[in-house]
Amino acid sequence: MAVDNAVRSSRAVRHRGALAVFLVPFAVLFTLFYLVPILYAVYQSLLTVEREGTFGPAVQVFGGLTQYIQVFQNEPFWASIGRVLLFGVVQVPIMLGLALILALLLDSPLVRGTKFFRLAFFAPYAVPAVIAAIMWGFLYSPNLSPFTAVTSNVDLLSAETVLWSIANVVTWVYVGYNMLIIYSALLSIPQEIYEAARLDGAGQFRIAWAIKIPLVVPALVLTGIFSIIGTLQLLAEPQVFQSFSSAVTSTFTPNLTIYSTASIPNISLAAAMSVVLALATFILSFTVLKLTQRRATS
């Protein structure tokens, strides 16, 4: 990275001991709890269970891509992937759009009391996903909700609507967090840039559209990628909603499918699903990164 200003390499040899103190703890933990689990999941996904006869003891043997064939034939798994993709296509733009609008308003001279609003919007981020889901689950329940005008007309926990009710929980928790990242990017724009626009008589709306938004695109890409990862990994909110709505099945999202497959127990199939999901997540976020980079350079 260009900002780096490392001390010359001859020093490195002299400070080998110090380097080991700095690097070894992280390297060991990262290997044990990141790399080894990933490799182990891949290894486990290549195994399959065989029995001698119907009632013989189960033995794990190398099965090649057997489990992956199973994954690709597993309809609930693909249905759950389709469900979170639909969720993401709708929820991520809404969430980031809201975050962008609120960040721009906070950064504009139109709004007073920015410190209060910043904290008010960010507060839900301090609520764990499980607690947020429990709270909104109560708010959606017709006999408890303060919003009876809504809940008496629409069943927010029915099969048709529950996905969007969960989307609202995720949006509520993460808008403020994303807003803060975008707002930080806005704060780092030098004020001189706005001078010329002001002299030309551009209003706040035009300044936001023509100057601010293009300059915060990197922050939007970052928040977008983390949102995509989060969407594919949805687990806590739907898991909690199983208590409120029978429409949330044990294969509602990919991670729920993996969890219920692992508790059958069919560990190898669950491991293969984890590998496929991790690859899908990686490819999707990588593609978003590349697409936006190309647009930025062209």
Partner: protein, 303 residues
């Protein structure tokens, strides 16, 4: 006004001079009104559920369903807290303590370990440095939930599931922390200061602890805070690792209670008051440290 000086202080870190907020053309009263209306509606959206949770926590079981959900009736908050604490020999307090242990110790150690690695990558050159860094960056893109199942399989091979270590050890890795530390150390710890410390005879490790950590403080607080929240909110890992109720973090405990509401209706009141108590520590931590993490995010998080 303290509000504007605070924002201005933040702004001037990036920009040299900030012209007056009211400078340039005057904005019309209509745009101001619309902007404020949007902010107020957004505030209602974000704060109403929290307000509801607080009001609901102050009600007796009967009033919970029969009175206005957004306003107080009899103030039974302390009775509810007492009932929560007494339930099943204070298991809720045990959960809070567990969460504090996992998140507090986990985040503190994760911050230290990530800061050392990030600092070393920024300030020393060694063979394989970029590869090492890129592998760690790849780790930022691997979500914690994807690792939970393989971690469970590994820990069960070692016979270590259903222990504190099964939740604590994986929480010590913060790939994002290494990334942020590297960028922050490169920008805020000058080589001259490290040289000066060397001339004074301080060892490399001591220089890191006495000089570098101080200069990197905003980044360290940011890493600590986000790791703290990540561990406190983590659900999947404890869900599959722990069976013993005494080891549960508060999120898992409340989740389990919530699944029991249909069999034990009285437990719902405990879920409500427990939810309120479990978010207060996080909100207090964020408020207390906001000066640090906001500048940490602004300076390092986004380059």
């Amino acid at each position: 006004m303290t509000v504007t000086t605070e924002t201005r202080a933040l702004r001037t870190q990036g920009a040299r001079v900030k012209p007056s907020r009211d400078g340039g053309i005057r904005e019309s009263a209509i745009s101001r009104a619309v902007a404020m209306a949007v902010m107020i509606v957004a505030t209602l959206y974000f704060l109403t559920p929290l307000w509801w949770l607080f009001v609901a926590s102050t009600k007796t079981r009967q009033e919970f369903t029969t009175t206005n959900p957004l306003w107080f009736s009899d103030f039974a908050l302390f009775d509810n807290i007492a009932a929560l604490i007494q339930y099943r020999d204070g298991v809720f307090l045990q959960w809070l303590a567990n969460s504090a242990l996992y998140a507090g110790v986990g985040a503190a150690l994760a911050t230290l370990i990530a800061a050392m690695a990030g600092y070393a990558i920024a300030k020393y050159s060694f063979r394989g440095r970029e590869t090492f860094f890129n592998v760690i960056l790849g780790g930022v893109l691997v979500p914690a939930t994807a690792l939970a199942l393989p971690l469970f399989l590994l820990f069960s091979q070692a016979g270590a599931t259903n222990t504190i270590w099964a939740v604590l050890l994986p929480s010590l890795v913060s790939a994002f922390g290494v990334y942020l530390s590297r960028i922050y150390a490169a920008a805020s710890v000058p080589d001259e200061i490290i040289e000066a410390a060397r001339i004074d005879g301080a060892g490399e490790v001591r220089t890191f602890f006495t000089v570098a950590t101080r200069l990197m403080a905003p980044a360290l607080v940011t890493i600590f805070l986000f790791q703290f929240v990540a561990i406190w909110n983590n659900f999947f890992l404890p869900l599959i690792m722990l069976r013993d109720e005494g080891l549960f973090p508060v999120t898992l405990g409340l989740y389990v209670w919530n699944t029991q509401v249909s069999q034990i209706p009285d437990i719902r009141a405990l879920v409500v008051i427990g939810s309120l108590l479990s978010i207060i520590p996080l909100i207090v931590t964020f408020l207390a440290l906001q000066r640090f993490w906001q500048s940490g995010l602004a300076n390092g998080g986004l380059k």
